[in-house]
Structure formats: C-alpha cells, structure tokens
C-alpha cells in the first residue's frame, strides 16, 4: 500500500483494531462496530477483502488458529510495516484535523 495515498476507512479501522490485539475476522468486525460506536458496520465481504489485501501487502499476517468454542479460527495480527502505515495515517489525519480546528477557532 502506498503511504502517499490516504487510507480508506475500512482499512484504517481494521489496522487500528488489530493494533490493539490479534483477532479473527468475526471478532474484528464486532470490535470495529464497538470502537466506532455502531457507526461503522463492515460487511463480511468488505472485511475479508480488506484483510486479504492487507495480508497481500504485508501489513497483517495470519496467525495460529485461535482455540475457543467451535472450530479453531484463523487470527490476524498487524505487522511492523502495518503499524508504520497506521501511524503515518494517524499523523495525516491529525494534521488534517488541526487545520479544521484552526479554521473553526477550536485551537485556542
């Protein structure tokens, strides 16, 4: 993924959720819904397409199956490269937000 291009929101949220801890797809979808306070509910097709793309780009890795109720599930973890991409995007968003705050007179 090119660091010069802004991340799309689903990609950003998936990386942000995985930066907290590894998770399997279903749990990841639930966490994103909770983190965004219900604002973002990723479709299964979207979520797994994002995970597949991030895996291809080396920003996440597939980990060992997670034991639990039912069959073991494939977990996903963020890589060092993924963390760098997330940090870059957070800084970009902060810079944009600062411009917006300045315009609104919120920055004191």
């Amino acid at each position: 993924m090119s660091s010069s291009q802004p991340m799309r929101e689903p990609t950003f949220l998936v990386l942000a959720a995985l930066a907290r801890h590894p998770a399997h797809g279903y749990r990841l979808g639930k966490e994103i819904e909770e983190l965004s306070e219900g604002r973002v509910k990723l479709l299964a097709g979207t979520l797994y397409a994002v995970l597949d793309r991030l895996h291809r780009d080396g920003l996440v890795v597939q980990g060992d199956p997670e034991p639990g109720d039912g069959p073991p599930r494939r977990t996903y973890s963020i890589t060092a490269e993924g963390r760098v991409a997330l940090e870059h995007e957070v800084r970009r968003l902060q810079a944009s937000a600062a411009i917006g705050e300045l315009g609104l007179g919120w920055s004191g």
Binding site: G25, Y26, L43, A44, G45, T46, Y48, D52, R56
Partner: protein
C-alpha cells in the same frame, strides 16, 4: 427467511473461497441472515458476490497486473468474436462467420494458441469484403493475440455455451440482417455495462469492457468521414452520431478508470 438461506447457500457455494475462509464467512453472515432486515441481507449478499469475484481474479492471475490485463483482453476477444460472427452472418458471409464462430468457441474453451492461429485467417477472410468493419476485425485479432485464457485451463462448459450461442446467431442473424446490426451494438453496450459493474470487483471484466468499447469506437465507420465531423461541430442540436460517439468515449474512459482502480485494489498498485 428465504433470503437468509440464500446468504448461507452463497457462503457455501460461491467460488473463490478456501474452506477456512468459507467457514469464517458463514459465521460472519449468520447474524445478518438472522436479522429481519432485508437491506442488510442484500448488502451482505452483494458483498459476498464481490468478494468471490475478487478472490477468483487474484487466484486466477497470481496477483500479476500484466496477466490480469491479458486475461481481461482475452475476455473482450470472446465478445467481439461473437459480434463479428453475428455481423458476418447478417451479411450472408458464411465462411467468414464460421471462422469467427471457431475463434469464439476456441476462446470460450480457454484454448491458448488456437485463437491466435485463427486470428490471421480471420483478418483476411472476415476483414475484407464480409461487410464487417476492418478495424473491428483487426481489433479482434489484436486482443486475441495479446490475451491469455482465464486461469490457464480448458473450459468445456464455456465452449458448449459458446457453441449454443453461435448456433442461435446462425438461426436468427441471416433472417434479420437490419435488426442484427442494431442488436449487436445494443448487446455490446449492455455487455460493457455489465462488465463495468463486475469489473469493480474483478478487474479483468473492466479491462474487457474498456477493450470492447475501444474496438467499437475505432470501428465506427463515420470516424473516417470528414463531412460527418464537419456536421458534428456545426449541427445544433447534436445528432445521433454525436450521442453514440459520446457514449462510446464515455465507455472507454469509464472502463479505463474502473480498470485502473480495480487493478490497484485487487492486485496492487503499479510499481
């Protein structure tokens, strides 16, 4: 409930998913299937179909950008070969139509070299004196030579479907030559529209839509007529040719944009 079952069936049956992903998807869509909201289930279904196309594109091309484009171009060859076959039949050129039909069936069968071998004779036999625009036939030969078959394997089901389609064309087109010309253009527009939708998920379809539109554009006979261009800029309001030309340019441009975006998303950005 019926649509919930459709959602579950889709996770089990859609191609492109490995068993582990299929199980995860099944789990993820269960909630949507249980929920009473038709809109949620429909959105999940569209998302699953899109994911299926994306995964097929990635697996079929090995995330290779050039291979993706070449497979899309070969898909365009299939459609243009059918169009050329229909037009040759409408003009009563049976030998030319048979050659185009052979090219169409061989392409649908996933053959690598047979369509390439047929491309030369197609240009000679169909391109001259068959009533089919030479630029269209030359474009067909070009996309046939450049393209590679989908997933690199034979598809006998595709060949059978193409043979049935060609037989249908042979039954209808010679009886209705005037209708055929209009129908070929209309069907081409419908196919391009459908491919653009699918191309959002599988870039091969967007590439095919772009190639089909481009061939259609360059094979428009009026493009070489200076008087038509003079009328184009002087006539007000714009005539039918202007509208068709605009639609064709729109098709090429949109196809190119969709293909570029889908390629970046599906197989990674160009280096």
């Amino acid at each position: 409930m019926r649509r919930g079952r459709l959602l579950q069936w889709s996770t089990r049956s859609l191609p492109g998913f490995d068993p582990e992903l299929r199980r995860e998807l099944s789990e993820s869509v269960t909630e949507a299937a249980r929920s009473g909201r038709c809109r949620d289930r429909s959105a999940e279904l569209v998302g699953l179909v899109g994911l299926s196309f994306t995964m097929q594109a990635r697996r079929g091309t090995g995330d290779d950008r050039v291979e993706t484009v070449r497979q899309g171009v070969r898909l365009a060859a299939l459609v243009v070969a059918a169009q050329v076959c229909a037009l040759a039949l409408a003009h009563g050129r049976l030998a030319a139509a048979a050659l185009a039909a052979g090219l169409c069936i061989a392409t649908a069968a996933g053959a690598r070299w047979v369509p390439v071998i047929l491309a030369g004779p197609v240009v000679v036999l169909v391109g001259f004196g068959s009533g089919v625009p030479l630029a269209m036939v030359a474009g067909l030969a070009m996309v046939t030579v450049i393209g590679t078959p989908h997933d690199g394997r034979r598809c006998w089901r595709g060949a059978c479907l193409a043979a049935v389609g060609v037989a249908g064309l042979a039954a209808v087109c010679p009886q209705l030559p005037a209708v055929t010309t209009v129908a070929v253009a209309a069907a081409g527009a419908v196919v391009v529209g459908a491919f653009l939708l699918l191309g959002w998920f599988d870039p091969r379809y967007a590439v095919a839509a772009t190639a089909i539109s481009a061939i259609r554009l360059v094979s428009t006979a009026q493009l070489a007529d200076f008087d038509v261009w003079a009328a184009l800029v002087s006539t007000s309001p714009p005539g039918g040719f202007f509208v068709r030309l605009t639609l064709m340019v729109f098709g090429v441009t949109t196809g190119w944009l969709v293909a570029s975006r889908a390629l970046d998303r599906c197989v990674g950005p160009a280096v």
